[in-house]
Symmetry: C2
Subunit: 241 residues, 2 copies
Amino acid sequence: MQQSVSSFRRKAVCSNCRLRELCLPVGLSAGEMQRVDDISHLKRGYARGDYLYRSNDKFQSLYAIRKGSFKTQVLHEDGREQVTGFQMTGEIIGLDAICTDHHTCDAVAMESSEVCELPFNKLEALSRELPSLQRHLHKIMSREIVRDQGIMLLLGSMRAEERLAAFLLNLSQRLAARGLSPTQFQLRMSRQEIGSYLGLKLETVSRAFSNFQDNGLINVRARAVELLDLPALHALVGKQQ
Amino acid sequence: MQQSVSSFRRKAVCSNCRLRELCLPVGLSAGEMQRVDDISHLKRGYARGDYLYRSNDKFQSLYAIRKGSFKTQVLHEDGREQVTGFQMTGEIIGLDAICTDHHTCDAVAMESSEVCELPFNKLEALSRELPSLQRHLHKIMSREIVRDQGIMLLLGSMRAEERLAAFLLNLSQRLAARGLSPTQFQLRMSRQEIGSYLGLKLETVSRAFSNFQDNGLINVRARAVELLDLPALHALVGKQQ
DNA sequence: TGACCGGTTTGATATATGTCAAAATTCATG
DNA sequence: CATGAATTTTGACATATATCAAACCGGTCA
């Protein structure tokens, strides 16, 4: 688990951040979007295992993931680490920290990644001037709440295979949102990380994958996954999500 | 499960809402607080089983719970209902709905209750003028995210007794925040509801209560609970939370 | 007071998942 | 292409929780 912080670049006008397409795709005029770009910085060069931030770091910014993906995790006092989320290209990370001014989890790159840093003070100030930005910020935060509550439902009421089906469909949907193939993709995380996220042991995850394979629901070889029978997967999950 | 909607009262100046003490205790001057009171309505007369809102209702407002307590729950397609949270006096409810404009769960009174309605559009508009209100709103939303992630950790990595210990300590802490006895209280919810929330069956919850009793960690008779050995309870949970 | 009725506790057993261990596969590296 | 490390799969067994069933409260209402 490396700790290097990667290269850092700042531009007064950071059109590279492409926030428009990525994370804030609503209701802003070109001029307004320009003002969001103006307060953001591009940060690149995160390699697998690099930290974007750590638990207890002072909260400064939200980050829009421009390339790559991250996981968030907490370290329990006994050394175990538990994954609390996977964040992919185009999503926002860092929302955990606003209420305490300090981060409550670690954010670790799962592959070569780039982010767009959004200093929260400036974002708040700007959102006082731009109601549609304000509303969008609220939606992003609320979406995170809904997402977390969805996982609570998953953990609270579903068995191993149902959890894995929900996980795969969720990934699929997020890939589709980025215009990528929703039925054929490479997992960026290990069985162990999936298990940690789903509240299962890695062996249980592996067995569930094998069962799906045996029943023709998916094709899986190591981290390459192909979803074959979406209706069956949805049926496992029930209708929620 | 009743459906009556209860009485409703509106006041141009709703000083009864006492938002200052309840849910927004930070950084606002008396004049600023008055402006928050001005946009809020008192709604009273919710009886046990009454709905504050229902899943798919259009999102209009957040609610500060002035008296009593509510649970939030989702109905699965097969009829099972799962509790997603318990909200007590002084807390805010309704945050789930901002991102979709529609509520994602039911909110049901667990006892005789009153709320203060905060129309979200007006709250947003006011928070554009009052930075400290804006910041506080963000903190409330972020706190909900952190709270939900705490439950994810709980559901993902803890066994039945650890979950129950975490639940009891969480209740205790929230009671303390309201100046009530943190070691002796009446549960407002059934074993079934606790189990639904913690991802356990009611029998498992009951057995865990009995074990705690047998080991001198708590006294429990039906819904009356007394926490006897806080250190032992904390030890069960680990240090998180 | 007595008889209910929902909620709770307790018991016996089934089942899903965890645990431990080994084999098989994939991946990185020279 | 060969080697070894890491990850994944599979197997046998242990254990926590679910399930089903019955008994036991603790209130409410005649």
